[in-house]
């Protein structure tokens, strides 16, 4: 059953998050927090020798939207350069706030477009973008991220 933002992929990822669990040899650890919902995640990032993202894992607790977004982000970021991740972050944010129509305009979001209807739920946009804000913060060298 699907309603609003809760389509099959999002509910599936929220119940079966990918790359979930701590990473022992992470190059970067960063916490992301959404005070509104109490969503709280920690992301672990391993970089490859060529500077691309080798892998991303996460732990923590959040709502279905933030958990699914984190899960799908860890898949999407794998093997990407920092510039490519930055592009995804910007496009995801624009899609979530209704500034990018993924059905009409070119983009690199791929499977991440399952979040496109989040723009119709303004109070939930922060849930979807929290993982991306956190990854972005890690890329620019910050220690924590918050959507407030």
């Amino acid at each position: 059953m699907s309603i609003g933002i809760y389509n099959d992929q999002i509910t599936y990822h929220s119940k079966n998050p990918r790359n979930f669990g701590e990473m022992e040899n992470a190059d970067i650890k960063i916490k992301g927090h959404n005070p509104l919902c109490g969503d709280s995640f920690e992301f672990f990032i391993k970089l490859a020798e060529n500077g691309t993202i080798d892998s991303v894992q996460f732990t923590g607790k959040g709502c279905a939207v933030s958990t699914a977004s984190a899960s799908m982000m860890t898949k999407a970021a794998k093997g990407k350069t920092l510039d490519e991740v930055e592009t995804l972050f910007k496009e995801f944010q624009m899609m979530s706030t209704g500034k990018l129509d993924v059905d009409q305009e070119p983009n690199h979001l791929g499977h991440l477009t399952v979040f496109k209807s989040i723009k119709d739920f303004p109070v939930r946009v922060k849930c979807a973008t929290l993982p991306w804000h956190t990854l972005h913060s890690a890329m620019i060298g910050q220690k924590t991220a918050t959507t407030e």
Partner: protein, 412 residues
């Protein structure tokens, strides 16, 4: 629709008084169950506010002209309506504020100026709204005053044994919520006040959730302060009341300077106005005060006891259906409970519950309800809360239950 007739109360007729209840949300009939945050306004209150703006508006206590006097009369009449509603002894014990939060802040700021000393303690409860925590932190903790907390038991009742132990000679104020906005617990405020008074300790009661549902008699309670908002009791936003015993208010310094709160001003010295104006600096929310007066008249036209009986029926009905449901638990099962149900669904975040119910036209509150210490106490980030008002029906509770089943199906 014979279920609309309960306790001799014609709910269909009551609902007609609330135009907003006939609208749709996301293509579904609105089921408004967020009354604990803000209840809807009946036609009579809307009409009274409109009449003020179209026929009586001017500034109060200022002009010699006709309209200023008309506005002042309506505004002061509302004060008497409030006085009678909460059974205060004196009219001047009713201070207009912008709401419950403003009222608590006013007491905190004033007491901090002349009453609290370093090492004193303020006794709160674990189920307080942030308004009754942060106000004391801002105004009193900076003066070296400590905050002590009465714990909450697993069923959502106050730990009264702990209260008696915490009530030491260091305590200079007890400030507690009458009805918890999360748990629905009706606290034994009379007992708390009597115990505190045995030691000469004043008590503030936060009545934000109790004024719409229970008879308030501040003289019987003997509370020193009682605070509440209009918008949770069918009135407008931006207006509320600080009741204080005259003996306290007379010795308390004002915390805001401005027009109306003065007797005489020079650059060297200002003498303050008498009660209640001493605490009412600046042009007040005139239409809001008049609107609150109209909201009280609406409540009285139905009868608070009939309203409370209907809301209790709804609580019992909703609890009897939701409590046995698999994967759902109710937070707060106090013996004395108001018509508030906080839900926790296994493995499903309250915000997801709230969003899915919203798609069904059902408005509930999802979040920490401005009571984060209470969420921490129960080890949860948030709850989904349904809170009932006089216009809610058993059919609406059935819709809520269907909505909850849908939430479970989506995450099944």
């Amino acid at each position: 629709m014979n279920t609309l007739l309960t306790n001799d109360l014609d709910i269909a007729k009551v609902r007609e008084e609330f135009p907003i209840l006939s609208r749709q949300v996301h293509g579904k009939p609105l089921v408004f169950l967020d009354n604990g945050a803000s209840s809807q306004m009946p036609r009579s209150v809307q009409e009274r506010i409109r009449l003020y703006h179209s026929n009586e508006h001017a500034n109060v206590h200022r002009g010699v002209h006709y309209l200023s006097q008309t506005a002042t009369d309506s505004y002061e009449k509302a004060r008497v309506t409030v006085q009678n509603f909460i059974h205060a002894k004196h009219e001047e014990e009713i201070i207009w504020t912008s709401g419950t939060t403003d009222a608590i802040n006013t007491v905190a700021a004033s007491l901090a100026q002349f009453y609290f000393k370093e090492g004193d303690e303020i006794l709160l409860t674990e189920m307080e709204h942030h308004a009754n925590i942060v106000s004391w932190q801002i105004h009193a903790v900076s003066k070296g005053v400590k905050i002590k907390v009465i714990p909450v038991l697993d069923n959502g009742e106050l730990d009264l044994d702990a209260f008696e132990n915490l009530l030491t000679d260091k305590v200079k104020l007890v400030s507690l919520v009458h009805i918890s906005n999360v748990l629905g617990t009706v606290n034994p405020v009379k007992f708390v006040i009597d115990r505190a008074h045995e030691k000469g300790i004043p008590v503030l009661v936060d009545g934000a959730q109790s004024t719409p549902h229970s008879k308030i008699d501040v003289q019987h309670l003997d509370c020193d302060f009682f605070v509440f908002s209009a918008h949770k009791m069918y009135g407008p936003t931006g207006v509320g009341v600080l009741y204080g015993k005259k003996e306290w208010l007379s010795k308390m310094p004002p915390v805001r300077g401005g027009g109306d709160m003065i007797m005489e001003v020079s650059f060297e010295k200002t003498t303050y106005n008498e009660l209640p104006y001493k605490f009412e600096a600046g042009t007040p929310n005139i239409s809001g005060a008049i609107g609150l007066g109209a909201a009280i008249e609406f409540i009285q036209s139905i009868g608070l006891e009939k309203m409370a009986a209907h809301e209790h029926d709804l609580l019992v009905y909703a609890t009897s259906i939701i409590e046995p449901m698999q994967g759902i638990s109710i937070l707060g099962t106090a013996k004395e409970k108001a018509s508030i149900i906080s839900l926790i669904m296994d493995e499903i975040h309250p915000h997801d519950v709230g969003t899915i119910l919203d798609m069904e036209g059902i408005a509930v509150r999802a979040g920490h309800h401005c009571a984060q210490p209470l969420m921490t106490r129960f080890g949860i980030p948030a709850t989904s809360r349904a809170s009932f008002a006089v216009y809610n029906t058993k059919e609406e509770i059935d819709a809520l239950v269907q909505g909850l089943l849908k939430v479970q199906q989506i995450f099944a």
